[in-house]
Structures are given as structure tokens and as C-alpha cells.
């Protein structure tokens, strides 16, 4: 920090001297040079003052130090053009910043995320995946989806699309600490402010005078910096404010971004469960009230995400553990409806004329998920909704992650969209710096929006479509869904498209 200050002072001094000399020579006039020399003296004096009194302005202030905010910091820290930036991370979580060691014996946290292969490769690019691999994580290469009507099912294998894995289930705290560890590896200048954002000004009021005590405040008054006030009374300035503070984003609210969306009349109950055998497949069954997902976590643990109406969710949360385990097994097995028939040959013949190579996987028949033996964590319940911000960016402020969009968890895409946002924003900031742009410029931030918004909105629309399609128990629609299952299972080009889209590659299904 001291080195930076002395360097800046020296630079300011030489610049001031150079400007003094040049002004004298080029513009001529004794009056002009006298005026400029006093200006320059004041400038140097101001600079000296600003380093002793006011806080140094940051380049970027990331509000929200969760997974997505930390992914942005990590990406900035590991890109040559952005690693010199001075970044503030504002998060009221007191544990952030302290070296949280995750022990192997720790029971698995119910808050997990399924990261897609695209996200895994982004993590590998910044060098954070190596830290994830040091903790509990579970790749899966098999996925089975079916519903309660028993009319159809879909089974996907990664090798059908020449991939090794369909995804990896990782605890959120592991993802977060891996990104943080990677940032700590580098000499990235980051300052954690353990506080909450209370006020944000992007445009100083017209009544503020230019007569200010420091160059930082002068820059703020000139519109070059945003001013953030925190709950602990401190304030800071930054060229760009990034809202990574989740679905109830304070940044989004203070910046006045409008949102659109609706609440699903569903809550999600999540918990960790244990089996007697290893679970190596991801399972999802659509029930009348909502889907139940069983995701492998490794070490015979699995994560349950069970969507249902709020009353049932409250019941599930409060019922005793044995009853809950029984309910889960019931929901995954014969509850609500029969097993689908795995009539392999019949369905295969029916679809063979649709072309493409028929992909006959080794164990293509319907399987029942492994039985849950006991509950391994507390049960949590969250309300579900869809939310999308109409704009992601305006001057000096930009939203990433859940602050910009919230989706239904039924396809495990939410945080993957957020990671996509974070890494895209980091890349765009680097491109802006490469051409000497002010990183808070609207034109640059709108480039990020133009890239991410269509991708996010498309995914959200598809997920919402699924949610709506599966929430109606209506004969003809059930058969349509069953047909869709069969199609998705047997028509291999479609299967490949769906898998690659869900894996995070940016193509829409059907349009490959």
C-alpha cells in the first residue's frame, strides 16, 4: 500500500511538473503559466492530503461476498489486465475473510449446488477447481427423470454425448472457500468490509460544490465515482459498483432497477440424507405438487431438493425424522403413481424412423433410486419465485447472479447462470481496460448485459415452462409430457442438444 502511495505521489509530481513545463511552452502567455503553476501546486497539495485523510477510492466495489461475488473477485484476480485493480468486498458475514477450514468429518451441508461442466471449466480456467477437489464433491454421469404418471421416463448418460460427466454436486461452502482460497493465492488488492450497504449515490446532487477537501470527493462530485455508505458508519468510493448481493439485492433496490417476476406457490425443502450404498446418479421425479430431486454428494450421502406447496413444506419440516425418511422413500418410489415401464424395444422401434443413431445405453431401463436410510442434516425450507431485473446495468452499477435473476431449482441452473455472469463481467471489464475505457461507462456495462441477458432469459423461460408444464395434472397433458419424455430419451440428436444446453454450452436445444 505504501509503495502504491509513493509511486502515485511521484507520478503526480512528475505529471504536474511535465504539465507545468508543457503548458508554459505550448500555450504561452505569462498569465497562463502563473495560473497553472498555482493550480499544479494545489493539485499536489490535494493529493498529499487525500492520502492522509480520505479513503483511497476503489476501482470496483463488490457488494455481496457470496459464491458469485467471490467468483468475480477470483476472475479479476487471475486475469492479467485486471489483477492490478483495487477491489472492496462488502459483506456483513463476519466469517468471510477468516480462514474457514472445512474438515473432512464435517457432515455435508444441505446447501449444495450442481455445477455444470461449463462452470467447472470456468473454475479450472481461474485455478479454483483444484481447491474444490480437495473437499467433498461428487461428479455424476447419469441422470434419470420421470414423473408420477408412470407413462414415461428419461435416462441420460454423459457418454451418450461423449462427455465424462453431466455435472458435479458441491456444497456451497466448498465452492465459496475454493474461490476465496484462489484469490488469497494471488496478490490481488482486496479489502473486505464486514458491513452492510445502506446508501449508494451514483449521481451527486447538483447543489454540491466543487470546493471539496480531497481529490476523491472532487472525483465523486464530478461523477467519476460512486459513493457507498455502510451500516458501520464508514463510506467508500468506487468507479464501479457490482451488485452480487442475492435475490433481495440492496444494490438493485438502491439503483432503482425494476424487476419482473412472480412467486411460485411452492417452497423447496432441502436436507442431506444417507444411503447404505453409494449413489452415483442424479434423480428427479415430478410429483403432482412439484419435483423431488436426489443428488449424489459422495460418501453415500445425497442431497434432497423437494418442491411442494408451503403448507406441506411446513409439515415436512416439522414432522419427525423417521416419518420424513419414509415420506422421501415413498415419493421416490411408488408414491403418487406407478413406475414407468422400461419397454426398451417397443419405444426404440417407434422412434427409429426419426433418424439419427439410436443411442442404446448400457443400462437404459428404468431404475428405482437407492433407499434413504436416514436423515443427515437439518431440514430447511425456502420460498421459490422467478425474478428478473429489467436492466442489469446503468452508469457505474451492474448486477450479477441472483441479484439480477432468480429461477426455479428444478434444473440446477441458478448458480450456474450467476457464475456465467461473473466470469463474463470480468472478461468485459478486461476488454474495457484494454482500450482505456472508464470501467463504469454505460456502454461497457451494456455490452455485458447484451451478452448475458438473452442467455439468462432463455434459460429462465425454459425452466418456467417446465415448472408450469409439470404443475398440471390433466390427462392429455400428462400424455404429452410422457411423449416428451420418450422423445427426449430416444431421439438422440435431441438428447444431445438437451444435455449440452443443460451443461452450459450456449446453444439452444433444437438449434444445433
Amino acid at each position: 500500500m505504501n509503495r502504491a502511495i509513493t509511486r502515485k505521489l511521484a507520478a503526480a509530481a512528475t505529471n504536474a511538473y511535465q504539465s507545468k513545463v508543457l503548458r508554459k511552452n505550448l500555450c504561452g502567455g505569462a498569465n497562463a503559466s502563473a495560473a497553472t503553476s498555482t493550480q499544479i501546486n494545489n493539485h499536489i497539495h490535494e493529493d498529499k492530503q487525500s492520502f492522509t485523510h480520505t479513503v483511497h477510492p476503489y476501482d470496483i466495489a463488490i457488494v455481496g461476498g457470496g459464491m458469485v461475488g467471490m467468483a468475480l473477485a477470483c476472475s479479476l484476480a487471475t486475469t492479467p489486465l485486471t489483477k492490478h485493480l483495487n477491489v472492496a468486498i462488502i459483506d456483513s458475514n463476519p466469517a468471510l475473510g477468516s480462514k474457514v477450514s472445512i474438515k473432512k468429518e464435517d457432515p455435508p451441508d444441505p446447501r449444495v449446488s450442481t455445477v455444470t461442466p461449463a462452470t467447472i471449466s470456468l473454475f479450472k480456467d481461474v485455478g479454483a477447481w483444484q481447491y474444490v477437489q480437495q473437499h467433498r464433491h461428487a461428479y455424476f454421469d447419469k441422470l434419470q427423470v420421470w414423473d408420477y404418471t408412470g407413462l414415461g421416463y428419461t435416462k441420460y448418460y454423459a457418454k451418450d454425448v461423449n462427455k465424462d460427466v453431466l455435472g458435479c454436486v458441491v456444497e456451497n461452502k466448498v465452492l465459496h472457500s475454493s474461490l476465496f482460497s484462489r484469490v488469497e493465492d494471488t496478490d490481488f488488492q482486496k479489502t473486505i468490509h464486514p458491513s452492510r450497504l445502506t446508501l449508494m449515490s451514483l449521481h451527486p446532487s447538483s447543489s454540491s460544490t466543487v470546493e471539496s477537501s480531497s481529490s476523491t470527493e472532487a472525483s465523486y462530485v464530478n461523477g467519476c465515482l460512486a459513493k457507498l455508505e455502510l451500516s458501520d458508519g464508514s463510506s467508500l468510493y468506487a468507479k464501479l459498483v457490482v451488485g452480487a448481493d442475492g435475490a433481495k439485492s440492496q444494490v438493485r433496490q438502491l439503483a432503482g432497477f425494476k424487476t419482473t417476476g412472480w412467486n411460485y406457490s411452492q417452497n423447496a425443502v432441502i436436507c442431506t440424507v444417507e444411503h447404505s450404498v453409494e449413489n452415483q446418479c442424479a434423480w428427479q421425479r415430478f410429483l403432482p405438487g412439484g419435483p423431488i430431486a436426489l443428488l449424489p454428494m459422495g460418501d453415500k450421502f445425497s442431497n434432497i431438493v423437494w418442491t411442494m406447496n408451503p403448507k406441506e413444506a411446513a409439515d415436512c419440516k416439522s414432522m419427525n425424522e423417521d416419518d420424513f425418511v419414509k415420506a422421501v422413500n415413498h415419493a421416490l418410489d411408488y408414491g403418487y403413481g406407478p413406475h414407468p415401464k422400461s419397454s426398451l424395444l417397443a419405444s426404440a422401434d417407434m422412434f427409429s424412423w426419426l433418424g439419427g443413431n439410436l443411442v442404446i445405453s448400457a443400462n437404459d431401463s428404468f431404475e428405482v433410486p437407492p433407499k434413504v436410510v436416514k436423515l443427515a442434516s437439518a431440514r430447511m425450507a425456502f420460498p421459490l419465485s422467478l425474478m428478473h431485473a429489467k436492466d442489469y446495468a446503468s452508469r457505474r452499477v451492474v448486477l450479477i447472479g441472483d441479484a439480477a435473476h432468480a429461477v426455479h431449482p428444478l434444473a440446477g441452473q441458478g448458480v450456474n447462470l450467476g457464475f456465467g455472469d461473473a466470469f463474463a463481467l470480468s472478461r468485459i471489464i478486461a476488454e474495457g481496460i484494454a482500450v482505456g475505457m472508464d470501467i463504469g461507462e454505460v456502454s461497457l456495462l451494456k455490452k455485458y448485459e447484451a451478452e448475458r441477458k438473452p442467455a439468462n432469459v432463455t434459460m429462465m423461460a425454459i425452466l418456467d415452462g417446465f415448472q408450469k408444464a409439470y404443475s398440471v395434472d390433466f390427462g392429455p397433458l400428462n400424455i404429452l409430457r410422457a411423449a416428451a419424455f420418450h422423445g427426449a430419451h430416444h431421439i438422440s440428436p435431441l438428447k444431445r442438444s438437451i444435455i449440452s444446453y443443460a451443461s452450459g454450452e450456449q446453444r439452444l436445444p433444437l438449434f444445433s
Binding site: 505550448l26 489486465l81 484494454a434 482500450v435 482505456g436 475505457m437 454505460v442
Partner: protein, 263 residues
């Protein structure tokens, strides 16, 4: 504007056109036709007394056109920094030209293109800087920038805007011309004149001034891009050709009777 340049270039290739007394064009003709051409001494008409406003444009029958151009720029000077205003195309193409400058100048001066401020230590002059749309990013990239423009109004706006950000407030803005700078014997590592040459009465003389401002071993960058999409495409070709042309001239010292200061 760009098509005019293209036809000029085309004219050079045609050995039949021998009347053009311009030494710059003659030199290029020599390069392309490999025939000795007698270069009649060409002295530009003596310029009228410098009235300070449009000194780097020679007084010719076309000077009224130059006044018109200045007046046109003067009228819209306030909207330089309005990215949705009359200068919208300029703002839109700014990142592209800066990316080009970055890669070209880094290659030329052997600077590392992967650092945030690759132009540290380079003295650059932005000729015809206007409101400073090019000067400010160059300053952010670490260069010591001097911006000059013939219009006082532009310089005032440029100075005001650059003063808002501490990084760009080090830019030196002056209401002057390339010719005047040459007289003051100023020299720079890189001389950049983007979208200026089409507003100049005597492009050849202008090029002479630009090359005189460049240090030996430095770089001169000229661009001329029009505002319609079609000539944008052709103009890029012309600019590349023009740059190439100037570089070719740098290398062939025999052909450069009047441009001998450029190495």
C-alpha cells in the same frame, strides 16, 4: 472523402497520370512503377499571414470550405461527449480504433500488450483531438498525451471533461496546429491524426508536418473513416493501405526528398 483517397491511390498506379506535381504521390508512383520520374520541385503557394484559426490548412480557393467545416464542428462542439448525439458513430468505433492502436503501437515500440498501461513512458500527440475522445483512453493506457485542435471550443470542452477524472487530467490540451508544433520543434514518440486528414486542405503538407513531429523510430498513425457503412468498409481498406503507404515511404529513403526526416 474516403473514395477521394482511394481514387488518388488508384491514380498513382496509372502511369499515364504524370501531371500531379505532388512529391508525396510521385514518390509512391516511383515505388509502384519502378520507373525514374523526374520530380519537379513543388513549392506550395505561400500561405497568408497566420490568422491563428486555421493555420495548418493552406489558403487556397478551398479555404471557404475549411471555414465551413470549422463552423460545423463549432456548432456541435457541446455534444462531443454525448454518446447518443451527433458523435455517436465516433463513440461506437472508438474501442475498435483503440484496440488497433494498442496492438500496433505495442508491436512497434516492443511494449507488453498484456499489462493494463502498456503506453507508460510514451509521448503521444493526438492531432485534431476534438473533445478528447481518443486522448482520454490513451492517457488511461499510460501514455503522456498532448491533444491539439484548431478549434478553441473543442479544447475547452476537452479540458473540462478530462479534468473530471484524475487519470485523464494530466492530458495537455492546446489550441494549436501541427505546423506550429513543428515550428516549435516539438517531437513525440507517436503522432496520431485520426479522422483529420479529410478536413485538411493540403493532405501532403499535413503529412509532412506529422512526420516532422515524429521522433526517428517513432510511429505516425493516420486514419480517415467516413460515416456511411459502405465507405467505412472501403475506408478501413484505405487507412490500412494509407498506413502501409506511409510505412513504405518510411523505408524507402531515396524516394523521400521532402520526407527525409522520417526514418
Amino acid at each position: 472523402m474516403a473514395s477521394k483517397l482511394l481514387t488518388k491511390v488508384g491514380a498513382i498506379r496509372d502511369p499515364k497520370i504524370a501531371r500531379n506535381p505532388n512529391p508525396l504521390l510521385n514518390a509512391t508512383r516511383r515505388l509502384f512503377s519502378h520507373r525514374p520520374i523526374s520530380t519537379p520541385p513543388h513549392s506550395p503557394p505561400s500561405s497568408p499571414p497566420d490568422n491563428g484559426k486555421n493555420a495548418h490548412k493552406k489558403s487556397k480557393p478551398t479555404s471557404s470550405l475549411k471555414d465551413l467545416e470549422l463552423a460545423k464542428f463549432s456548432a456541435i462542439a457541446d455534444s462531443w461527449w454525448d454518446s447518443e448525439g451527433p458523435f455517436k458513430p465516433l463513440h461506437a468505433m472508438n474501442p475498435t480504433r483503440l484496440a488497433f492502436l494498442r496492438s500496433t503501437l505495442c508491436r512497434h515500440f516492443r511494449k507488453d500488450p498484456h499489462v493494463a498501461r502498456p503506453f507508460e513512458g510514451l509521448k503521444i500527440v493526438d492531432v485534431g483531438c476534438g473533445g478528447g475522445i481518443l486522448s482520454e483512453p490513451l492517457a488511461r493506457m499510460g501514455a503522456t498525451v498532448t491533444g491539439i485542435d484548431a478549434l478553441e471550443k473543442n479544447i475547452n470542452i476537452a479540458r473540462l471533461h478530462a479534468g473530471l477524472d484524475p487519470v485523464t487530467s494530466t492530458i495537455e490540451y492546446c489550441c494549436t496546429t501541427a505546423e506550429k508544433l513543428v515550428k516549435e520543434q516539438k517531437m513525440f514518440d507517436a503522432v496520431i491524426a485520426l479522422e483529420v486528414i479529410e478536413h485538411v486542405a493540403d493532405p501532403a503538407e499535413f503529412c509532412k508536418s506529422l512526420s516532422a513531429l515524429t521522433h526517428p523510430g517513432g510511429a505516425t498513425v493516420i486514419s480517415t473513416i467516413n460515416r456511411s457503412m459502405r465507405s467505412y468498409a472501403t475506408a478501413i481498406v484505405a487507412a490500412e493501405y494509407l498506413l502501409h503507404w506511409v510505412r513504405l515511404l518510411y523505408l524507402d529513403s531515396c524516394a523521400l526528398a521532402l520526407l527525409k526526416t522520417v526514418v
